[in-house]
C-alpha cells in the first residue's frame, strides 16, 4: 500500500521548426525535395487565392455559405503532403486546402457552395471523403474505414481533420478510443484555430493542450506550431510512418488561427478583437513559408508573380466551368437520383410529379 505517482507514457511533445521570424531549427529541419516544397507553396497560394475569390463571389450574392480556410494552409497542406496517393483524406468542412492538395476539383467546390449536389462528386481514385458538416461525426467512419483498410492489408493510411471545437464532441472520444484499441492506421489532425465560431479554445476545454487528450486513449499525441509548414510536415510524417508500420493512430494538434470569418454568415467583431487578428496575421503561414523558400533560393520574385498568375488562371477556369455547369444543371428531379441504388415505386411517383407539373419544375 502506498501513495505514488503513476507514469502514463506515451509522453507528449511540442514541435516548432520554422518560427514566425523565419528562423529555422536546422537540427529539426526536415529534408524535403525542392519540387515538393514548391508544390506545397503553390497549393497554399492557390487555396488562399481561391478562398478570396469565393468570398468575393459570395459578396456578389453568387454563392451561399462556406467556411474560409485563410490562415490554416500550413496545417492542411503540411499534413496532407505526407500522404501517398493510396492514402485517405477525411475532411471536415474547413479543409479546402487539404482537399485541393489531394486533387479535388475547384469547380465542384464552387458547385456545392452554390447549392448544387452535383459538386459532391469526387473522382474515386482521389481517396477523398465528402465534406462532413456535423462537427466530429466523421471521426467514427474514418476509424471504421481505416479498420477496413487494415483488415484488407492495404497498407493505406488515413488522415482525418477536425477543429478544436470537435474535441468536445462524444464522437471524438468514441472514435479516438476505437482507433487506439484496434490500432487503426489513422492520423487525427486537430486544427486548433483558437475558435469554434464565438467560443474560444479556453472555453472549449480546461485541458492545457488538446494534444494531451490523446493520452486518455494510450495514443501518442503531439502539439505543433500549425503555421509552421516544416513542423506540421515532420509531425505528420512521423505519425503516418507509425500508422503505416502498424503502430496505430496518433493525434496531432496544430496550433493555428482562423484569420477570416467562421463562415460567410459570421461576424467576428461580436466575439474577438481586431488586435487579436492582427497579432496572428504576423504569423501568417503563407508569408512564413514564402520567406523560407526565398531564403533557400527556391523562389525568385519572378517565380512568385508567375505563380500568382498561374493560380489566378486556374481559378478563373474553374469559375468558367462552374458557370457553364450551372446552366447545364439538371432539374429538381435530380434530388431523387442517389437516395437508394433502386428507388422505391412511390418515391419514383414523387420524382415523376415534377415532370407532370411541367416547366416551372424542370
Amino acid at each position: 500500500m502506498a501513495r505514488e505517482t503513476i507514469d502514463i507514457a506515451p509522453s507528449l511533445e511540442y514541435l516548432s521548426i520554422l518560427d514566425e521570424d523565419g528562423e529555422v531549427d536546422s537540427d529539426l529541419e526536415p529534408d524535403i525535395d525542392d519540387d515538393l516544397l514548391k508544390d506545397m507553396y503553390r497549393c497554399m497560394l492557390l487555396s488562399r487565392r481561391f478562398d478570396e475569390r469565393m468570398l468575393s463571389l459570395h459578396g456578389e450574392g453568387r454563392m451561399g455559405t462556406f467556411a474560409p480556410i485563410k490562415g490554416q494552409e500550413a496545417s492542411q497542406v503540411g499534413a496532407a503532403a505526407v500522404l501517398q496517393e493510396k492514402d485517405w483524406l477525411f475532411p471536415s468542412f474547413r479543409e479546402m486546402a487539404a482537399e485541393i492538395w489531394r486533387g479535388k476539383k475547384l469547380e465542384n467546390i464552387l458547385l456545392v457552395y452554390t447549392g448544387y449536389n452535383e459538386g459532391g462528386e469526387i473522382p474515386p481514385e482521389k481517396h477523398i471523403l465528402p465534406v462532413c458538416i456535423p462537427v466530429g461525426s466523421h471521426l467514427p467512419y474514418a476509424a471504421g474505414m481505416m479498420y477496413a483498410a487494415k483488415f484488407k492489408k492495404s497498407e493505406e493510411v488515413g488522415m482525418v481533420f477536425f477543429g478544436d471545437g470537435a474535441t468536445s464532441e462524444g464522437d471524438f472520444h468514441e472514435a479516438m478510443n476505437f482507433a487506439a484499441v484496434f490500432q487503426v492506421p489513422l492520423v487525427f489532425v486537430c486544427q486548433n484555430n483558437q475558435w469554434a465560431i464565438s467560443v474560444p479554445r479556453s472555453r472549449q476545454s480546461r485541458s492545457k493542450t488538446l494534444a494531451q487528450k490523446a493520452l486518455a486513449y494510450g495514443m501518442p499525441g503531439i502539439q505543433v506550431d500549425g503555421n509552421d509548414m516544416l513542423a506540421v510536415y515532420s509531425a505528420a510524417g512521423e505519425a503516418v510512418e507509425r500508422a503505416r508500420s502498424g503502430d496505430g493512430p496518433t493525434m496531432i494538434e496544430c496550433v493555428t488561427y482562423r484569420m477570416s470569418v467562421h463562415t460567410t454568415a459570421d461576424d467576428p467583431r461580436k466575439y474577438r478583437s481586431e488586435d487579436e487578428e492582427e497579432q496572428w496575421s504576423e504569423k501568417d503561414p503563407l508569408d512564413r513559408f514564402r520567406n523560407y523558400l526565398q531564403k533557400k533560393e527556391l523562389l525568385s520574385d519572378e517565380k512568385i508573380s508567375s505563380l500568382e498568375e498561374e493560380v489566378e488562371k486556374q481559378i478563373q477556369d474553374a469559375v468558367d466551368s462552374w458557370e457553364k455547369r450551372q446552366e447545364e444543371a439538371a432539374g429538381p428531379a435530380a434530388m431523387f437520383d442517389h437516395v437508394f441504388a433502386q428507388l422505391p415505386s412511390y418515391t419514383k411517383e414523387q420524382r415523376d410529379s415534377f415532370k407532370e407539373e411541367g416547366s416551372s419544375h424542370e
Binding site: 448544387y116 464532441e169 462524444g170 469554434a196 467560443v199 437516395v339 422505391p344
Partner: protein, 326 residues
C-alpha cells in the same frame, strides 16, 4: 405594441421570462457572446450574466443532458441546438431522460425544460441545416413538440413552454425568422400548449398545417378564393404533440375535404397522424380522399433545389382542387 420579426419576438420572450424568473437559464453553442448564430439570444448575456447565459463547449448531448439536470434541480433551462439537424447527437438524452424522469421517479423528479432549435428549409443553407423532423420528437412519449408559425405565437408559445412543467421541444422556422413582422405586444402574453387555432374561415375545404407552411397555405387559400371561389378553413396546429385534433376534425366534418401540408418527408410523416385522427373522428363526413402535400422521401437537396422539395402554393392549390374534384 410594436412590429417584430420572429427572432425579435422570441428574444422578447426570453428577456421577459429571464427578467421575471431567476431560475430561467440559457445554454448552448454561441448563445452568449455571439447572441446565437441567428441572434435570437442577443443581449441576454449582457443583461443576465455568464452564469445564466452559458456558452457551452461544442457538445449537444451534454447541452441537453445538462439542461435535464438543471431542470431536475428546479431551474427552468432553455437549451439551444444550433440547428435541428444537429440535435440527433442529443436524441438519447431527450428520449431516455427528459421524457422519462417524471415517470421513472413517480413524479419525484420533473424536467421543466425547453430545447429550442431552428428547423426547416428556405434559407439557402448547407447540408443538415434545412431538415424538418418533428416526428422524431412528436412520436416520443413524454415530450411535447411545439412549432409556432408567426412572431406573435412564437413569443406566446415560448412563454408557455418555459413555464410548462414538462420538457418541450420547440422548433423555430428559419424561413419565418426574418420573413415578416407582426404586432407583438410588449406586455406579457402566452398561448396554451396543446391548442390549435383556426386562422381562416372558409367552409369548402379544410387545410391543416403549422410552422413555415402556414404562409403558403394561406396564400393558396387566398388564390383559391380569388380564382375558384373556393373558401378554405385553415387550421394552424401550433402544438404537434400533444396534438389538438378538435378544430381540424370538426372543420373536416363540415367541409368533407381536407388537405394536410408539411415540409417533413412524406412517409411516416406528421400527415399520417392527422389523417388517422380525421378517420377516427370525421370519417363519415369525408366526401373525398384526404390529400397531403409534403416534403419528399429523400434528404433535403442542397439549396438550388430546396424550393422544389418544400411544398409551395401551386402544389397546395393542386391538392385542394384534386380533393374537391375527386
Amino acid at each position: 405594441m410594436s412590429k417584430r420579426t420572429m427572432i425579435e419576438a422570441i428574444n422578447l420572450a426570453l428577456h421577459q421570462e429571464m427578467e421575471n424568473d431567476g431560475d430561467v437559464i440559457i445554454l448552448g453553442e454561441d448563445v452568449g457572446v455571439d447572441g446565437g448564430v441567428f441572434r435570437v439570444t442577443d443581449g441576454l448575456l449582457d443583461s443576465y450574466g455568464e452564469e445564466r447565459v452559458i456558452d457551452t463547449p461544442l457538445a449537444e448531448s451534454v447541452i441537453v443532458g445538462a439542461a435535464v439536470g438543471m431542470a431536475l434541480y428546479g431551474l427552468k433551462p432553455v437549451a439551444e441546438m444550433q440547428f435541428s439537424g444537429f440535435s440527433y447527437m442529443a436524441f438519447h438524452q431527450l428520449e431516455s431522460h427528459a421524457a422519462r424522469m417524471r415517470g421513472r421517479s413517480l413524479g419525484g423528479f420533473t424536467v421543466p425544460m425547453v430545447v429550442r432549435m431552428p428547423y426547416g428549409g428556405g434559407v439557402r443553407a448547407l447540408e443538415h441545416h434545412s431538415e424538418s423532423r418533428e416526428v422524431y420528437y412528436a412520436h416520443t412519449p413524454g415530450l411535447k413538440m411545439v412549432i409556432p408559425s408567426t412572431p406573435r405565437n412564437a413569443r406566446s408559445l415560448l412563454v408557455s413552454a418555459i413555464r410548462d412543467p414538462d420538457p418541450v421541444v420547440f422548433f423555430e422556422s428559419k424561413a419565418v425568422y426574418r420573413a415578416f413582422r407582426e404586432e407583438v405586444p410588449d406586455d406579457e402574453e402566452s398561448f396554451p400548449i396543446g391548442q390549435s387555432r383556426k386562422v381562416r374561415e372558409g367552409g369548402d375545404v379544410t387545410m391543416v398545417t403549422y410552422g413555415a407552411m402556414l404562409q403558403p397555405a394561406l396564400e393558396a387559400a387566398d388564390q383559391l378564393e380569388k380564382e375558384e371561389g373556393v373558401k378554405a378553413d385553415v387550421i394552424d396546429l401550433l402544438t404537434i404533440s400533444p396534438l389538438d385534433d378538435s378544430l381540424f376534425t370538426e372543420s373536416a366534418r363540415n367541409t368533407g375535404h381536407a388537405v394536410i401540408i408539411h415540409e417533413a418527408p412524406r412517409s411516416f410523416g406528421p400527415a399520417g397522424e392527422i389523417m388517422a385522427r380525421l378517420i377516427e373522428k370525421s370519417f363519415w363526413y369525408l366526401e373525398a380522399p384526404l390529400e397531403r402535400v409534403t416534403g419528399f422521401d429523400a434528404p433535403m437537396p442542397l439549396y438550388q433545389r430546396e424550393e422544389m422539395y418544400i411544398p409551395d402554393t401551386d402544389r397546395i392549390v393542386a391538392a385542394v382542387k384534386k380533393t374537391l374534384n375527386a
